[in-house]
């Protein structure tokens, strides 16, 4: 106990002692979340202190059903890890499974929640993340309220949440705070751009090297004109440009903030303009790579977007070798893999496959709050209703019920 920074109060005549948590150490104040920016929504983020994080969650959920179970993981670090769930919403089997997986961990040190993520996820070889991480208490709370669990780790502001699915990658917390029509549109936009980020450079390579007849005649002439003086085949060009773009992005993340503007000058001028003017790369390729880059930034979850970024390279190679056939082949492989994935037993592609209309309301589109009466994708079937129907338009707007013949 003393080793865990607690004072012991020993009283003469008593055979038990009181452990007092009197420890304190320098810590960061609650700040704005930097990785998940929103325009509208709370601006609090977890901090490195796990107790601050639990307090932020506890502040938002006032029910004795919210359970937090602490445990120490790490032989030397004895890092405090808190498993968080709401009893009656989370399925008991799920909680038992996650506890079992956490207990299995025997490791020297846990310095970040990423250690735990890799040690407990279902398919360790997959590029796709099966556990979501978030530094926003409102995201964690909303997922807890859908019957999922969270794992808070001392020493990092990033909490782990599972089980999650593919559609979770398209969701931003703001979707639930902004008006539902716009949120739905933006969600579809993200879906389209996930496709663009994965396949656009590969499609460009395939079409310009194998399937020129796909191009409308004026576009064919323009692309032919710009490719007239380029030294490399389209596939090599695409790979070079994509690598360069990844390098610029990586440099932008790693560089000290004071040098940030230098990287944009080098990136924009050298890679963009100068390379085209020198005839090293064709202008359409620069456009394709930039659109792809922007598309990959629209994916709200970073760990999902790096998976897509990584998959792009083998797809480009397949497209350069086999054309559209290669792209289709890669699409089939990715789809098969996604259908095979599970996050703590929940299919990764749910609610699309297996299809659940109630879940689709919350994933393919963002249905208005008054219509989402059941919790989506909840495994615990005993307590599914989220709200009454008192706020549906039929019950809320005077006269509407009568006009519709009394139906709700």
């Amino acid at each position: 106990m003393v080793l865990r920074w607690q004072g012991l109060l020993l009283i003469d005549g008593e055979d038990k002692a009181l452990a007092l948590s009197v420890s304190g150490w320098p810590q960061r104040a609650v700040a704005e979340p930097e990785t998940e920016a929103v325009i509208r929504g709370p601006r609090e983020a977890f901090t490195e202190n796990v107790r601050t994080s639990t307090a932020l969650i506890r502040r938002r959920i006032h029910t004795p059903d919210l359970k937090m179970e602490s445990m120490q993981i790490g032989r030397y670090t004895q890092t405090q890890v808190v498993l968080c769930y709401i009893e009656n919403l989370a399925s008991p089997n799920l909680i038992q499974e996650v506890k079992q997986r956490l207990n299995r961990i025997e490791i020297d040190a846990v310095l970040e929640s990423g250690y735990i993520e890799e040690l407990i996820e279902d398919t360790p070889w997959s590029p796709f993340p099966q556990i979501q991480n978030s530094e926003r208490p409102d995201v964690v709370v909303s997922l807890l309220l859908e019957g999922r669990f969270a794992i808070l780790t001392d020493g990092t502001p990033f909490a782990l949440v599972a089980p999650i699915g593919l559609t979770g990658a398209m969701a931003s917390p703001e979707d639930y705070y902004e008006r539902y029509l716009i949120a739905t549109m933006i969600r579809w936009l993200r879906g389209v751009f996930i496709g663009v980020a994965t396949y656009l450079p590969a499609l460009y390579v395939a079409i310009t090297t194998f399937h020129q007849e796909f191009l409308p005649f004026p576009l064919l002439l323009s692309i032919a004109a710009s490719r007239e003086n380029t030294p490399y085949p389209a596939m090599i060009e695409a790979l070079i440009m994509e690598f360069t773009f990844e390098a610029i992005r990586e440099a932008g993340v790693r560089m000290p903030k004071a040098l940030g503007s230098a990287i944009s000058i080098v990136g924009a001028l050298v890679v963009g303009q100068a390379a085209v003017q020198a005839g090293l790369v064709s202008a359409p390729m620069v456009i394709v790579v930039s659109i792809t880059g922007i598309a990959s930034f629209t994916i709200p979850r970073f760990n999902f977007s790096i998976a897509i970024r990584m998959l792009r390279f083998p797809i480009i190679i397949l497209a350069g070798l086999f054309g559209i056939f290669g792209i289709v082949f890669s699409a089939i492989c990715i789809t098969l893999h996604l259908c095979n994935l599970r996050s703590f037993g929940v299919p990764y592609t749910s609610p699309m496959a297996p299809l659940s209309l109630e879940g689709a309301k919350n994933s393919l589109m963002r249905a208005p709050w008054w219509s989402m009466r059941k919790r989506p994708g909840q495994e615990n079937k005993s307590n599914q209703t989220r709200q009454s129907d008192a706020t549906t338009p039929a019950n809320r707007i005077p006269g509407l019920k009568k006009r519709q013949g009394g139906t709700t």
């Binding site: 032919a224 710009s226 085949p233």
Partner: protein
């Protein structure tokens, strides 16, 4: 297990050194064929060799430079190569051998056919266009009228980057008759006969193009695959009104003289054609009803177009002129060429298959004798803001 996965990785890495599928061709290795042409080397000898032309785009000249975009009407935007040989396909292969880039026929927009080649028969050319999986079947056909094929293909067009683009755009406007390879072959192998729009070079003193520009005019009439003659002037205009694709006809203008020097000009908006077939005791009969909606472009006549009586008169006059044109076309087709370009044969075969079989062997004679009645009805939709002509309005004022 570990060795196996390394093996897979190694195999994947090896694909990087593969050259990939043999179909792969970079865009800058393609010679984009925009138009091809064919003619007889010696126009007066039907057994002479043929000369094929290939117009290939030069992308480097077409690139849009940062300050202004690609130039139009540039002679340097394309390369014209030709070769002589026994057949149409043979000449194309010969041209290919002399060019460093692989031909890309999928955007061949136009095929220009020499008149004498067309008179000898088109099957040779069409077989290549139909058989070649690369060639697109929707490329337009035109027959060079009064000039060599090469002259037309050499000519840059001032308002288009590539002359073939200009021809395709002219065709796509549907101002006259339009036919592409598929439609031609359908008409040729069906019960009717095909037709092709003519193309000729116009020299114009005022034009900035000293070498002239090309225009689509007149109709080449075919019997099966051989060209038999031209429909010119009124007959060509009339044929445009009754051709199988007449519903797509646009921009056709019609000028009617009312008295010397006083004209009424209209422009066609919508054309509706209904063909009514009957097969009576005296053989097949056709009655054709054409319904047109027109705009009045100019009115120099004494008609007051804001009065219903005068408007009906104008409609009658326009309709009558159109009818005369149609009759001129039908007369030439039935009696001069005996070519069924309107496609009555197909229609009769569909409507009266049993009777058709009896006349199938001598359909051309039956067709030449067949009575065809034509009614034309014109509706003037917009007659303009003023009723009577401006000239008449001035005379009222006494000037």
């Amino acid at each position: 297990m570990k060795g196996k996965s390394w093996g897979y990785l190694g195999m994947a890495a090896l694909t990087l050194v593969c050259t990939g599928c043999w179909d792969s061709t970079e865009i800058n290795e393609l010679g984009i064929v925009t138009a091809s042409g064919i003619e007889l080397v010696d126009p007066h000898n039907p057994h002479s060799k043929v000369r094929g032309y290939v117009q290939v785009a030069r992308p480097s000249e077409l690139s849009s430079d940062p300050n202004g975009g690609g130039k139009t009407g540039d002679e340097k935007s394309f390369v014209l190569e030709s070769a002589t040989g026994e057949t149409a396909a043979g000449t194309l292969q010969k041209v290919q051998q002399s060019l460093s880039r692989r031909f890309f026929f999928r955007d061949r927009r136009v095929t220009v056919v020499g008149e004498h080649f067309a008179r000898r028969g088109m099957t040779d050319l069409l077989d290549e266009a139909l058989r070649n999986p690369d060639a697109r079947l929707r490329s337009f056909l035109v027959v060079a009228d009064g000039c060599r094929t090469g002259d037309i293909m050499r000519l840059p067009y001032p308002l288009a980057r590539l002359p073939a683009d200009a021809i395709a755009d002219l065709e796509a406007r549907h101002a006259g008759v339009t036919i592409n390879v598929v439609q031609f072959i359908k008409a040729m192998t069906g019960k009717g006969d095909p037709y092709v729009s003519g193309i000729r070079i116009v020299h114009n003193q005022a034009s900035t193009q000293k070498k002239g520009v090309f225009e689509l005019a007149d109709v080449a009439v075919f019997r099966r695959d051989r060209m038999v003659g031209w429909l010119r002037g009124d007959a060509a205009k009339g044929f445009a009104l009754i051709q199988p694709q007449s519903h797509r006809l646009r921009l056709e203008s019609l000028a009617v003289p009312l008295s010397p020097g006083r004209w009424l000009t209209s422009q066609l908006i919508i054309l509706n054609k209904t063909v009514h077939l009957t097969w009576g005791r005296h053989g097949p009969q056709v009655s054709m009803a054409i319904e047109a909606q027109d705009d009045i472009l100019e009115n120099n006549s004494s008609l007051m177009l804001d009065r219903p009586r005068d408007l009906h008169l104008a409609e009658f006059l326009l309709g009558n002129t159109m009818r005369q044109q149609v009759l001129a076309a039908l007369d030439a087709l039935q009696h001069q060429y005996q070519a069924d370009c309107v496609g009555f044969g197909d229609a009769f075969f569909a409507a009266y298959p049993r009777q058709w079989r009896k006349v199938e062997g001598h359909w051309r004679q039956v067709y030449a004798q067949m009575p065809i009645t034509v009614t034309v009805k014109v509706h003037v939709v917009r007659s303009g803001l003023t009723g009577d002509s401006l000239r008449d309005q001035l005379t009222v004022k006494g000037e």
